[in-house]
């Protein structure tokens, strides 16, 4: 069982060394990578996915439990501990959702009972993440963008046994971010989000700031930020509700902006 992965510093686009000599990710960590477009976020998680050994443009080195990645990780895809979901990742299958998840569970689980449990748990998980419930009989191709994201994350978390999950800007489509993070925390894995979303960033244990291809800073979410989490999640949820209301043809009323009320903010200060 993997306990930690480390990223030893390389350099950015202008050959300036990464600011953090050794980044450590421990099992159970939820991490965000932030930075402007073009700042090197995707490059950093590609380094992790490739188990970079000084052989990528950044010159970074990735260690697993303090050692270079075992040959089997690169050699045998079934041993690869990393799953990656990007904006371009999608499902191609047109099977019904239930059949599809069974086809996947079949190669991972030994008994029919284990398979059935894994499929049910994946569906429950996905349905917690998205506001639009997924029925086992619906076809994969009929799923909305939000349902696809939710199912991708749920499947990678529940059925795959990879302990490291990389998510490259997958948060935009309609998934419930606060609940996603809370649910992911129940699984002892390393989740690394490349994200522009303030809620995901603040709900992470720490964030890595990228600039010009270089790791510019490592910022643990500090106590003040942690105390702001409920307020930020409240705002985020409020915006999600507004979006849903407007999509359903409803009117918006002042009471729908409850999360903005000063009383609430004051209570978080206390």
């Amino acid at each position: 069982m993997i306990e930690r992965i480390s990223v030893l510093a390389g350099r950015g686009r202008r050959s300036e060394a990464d600011a953090v000599p050794c980044l450590e990710f421990r099992m159970g960590d939820v991490v965000s990578i932030v930075g402007q477009t073009g700042s090197g976020k995707t490059t950093l998680i590609n380094d992790i996915e490739m188990f970079a050994a000084g052989d990528t443009p950044s010159g970074r080195r990735v260690l697993i439990d303090g050692e270079p990645a075992p040959a089997a990780f690169r050699d045998d895809p079934a041993c690869n501990p990393v799953a990656m979901i990007t904006q371009h990742t999608t499902f191609l299958s047109d099977l019904p959702v239930g059949d599809f998840l069974h086809a996947h569970a079949r190669i991972r689980k030994a008994t029919p009972e284990e398979m059935a449990t894994a499929v049910a748990r994946t569906l429950d998980f996905a349905n917690e993440l998205t506001g639009e419930p997924i029925a086992p009989a619906s076809r994969m191709t009929e799923l909305s963008g939000g349902q696809v994201r939710a199912l991708l994350i749920a499947d990678a978390t529940v059925i795959c046994h990879t302990p490291i999950i990389l998510l490259d800007e997958v948060e935009n489509a309609g998934i419930h971010r606060g609940r996603t993070l809370a649910l992911l925390r129940q699984h002892r894995k390393i989740f690394i989000f490349v994200t522009h979303d303030p809620n995901i960033t603040l709900l992470s244990d720490y964030r890595i700031v990228m600039k010009e291809g270089r790791i510019a800073a490592l910022l643990p979410t500090d106590e003040i930020e942690r105390s702001l989490r409920p307020a930020v999640t409240g705002l985020d949820d409020m915006m999600s509700r507004l979006r849903d209301q407007l999509r359903c043809g409803q009117r918006v009323r002042p009471s729908d902006l409850d999360a903005l009320r000063p009383a609430q903010l004051r209570s978080f200060r206390e």
Partner: protein, 234 residues
Amino acid sequence: MKLVICAGPATTGKTSVLRHVIKKLLERGHRPAFLKLDIQFAEEDELITREFAIPTRKVYSGELCPDHCLVIVLKDSMVWGQKTGSDVLLVETAGLCLRCSPYVEDGLGVIVLEATSGMNLPLKVGPMLTLADVAVVTKVDRVSQAEREVFRARIQDVAPAVRIREANALYGIGLGPLVDTILATPDIGDTTLLRGSPPAGSCTICTGAREIGQTSHFGRAKTFDNGLTYEGAR
């Protein structure tokens, strides 16, 4: 000189994979040459010469099955490769005929499949997969982890001995070990044999007959109900 034959259906990423291989070979001080075999159009040779300034050639198979054509021209291409002072000859074939396979005994056989082609593809490609040494699965960045794993399991079902490399050939992710495998391949000898025998000998269609219907053809032929018949010369 080492010989690498890289096959796979159209647009699966053969050239993208080989570009990263060439880059990594050059970085390690090797001298690769590149041959593209296609039916009637290809520009990989020009693109690769422009990008890497290495020796390249192309051959059009025209009316021949591309795999059959390769069997015929491979010997001369090896002579050409050696003459250019190269130490690795990379051959990209069109690989469209799923009954044949282009690999030879001493060379490394690489099939490039794309994860985006659907979970059943490994069951459909035949000897091009089963006789290969390495199967590179590209475009893993585009499909769910689930489909990637099912695709992999199906390759293992039909070709248990083939080593699988999953790759994002846009960034070269996953291709380092392929280069190690290439460099561990022994040099090619003077005589080399095809790995499998190509199917059904003299096919009347291959030799130019145009009449449709079973009675117009001889040799080994298929029937409508999936049977196989043999008929001597008519």
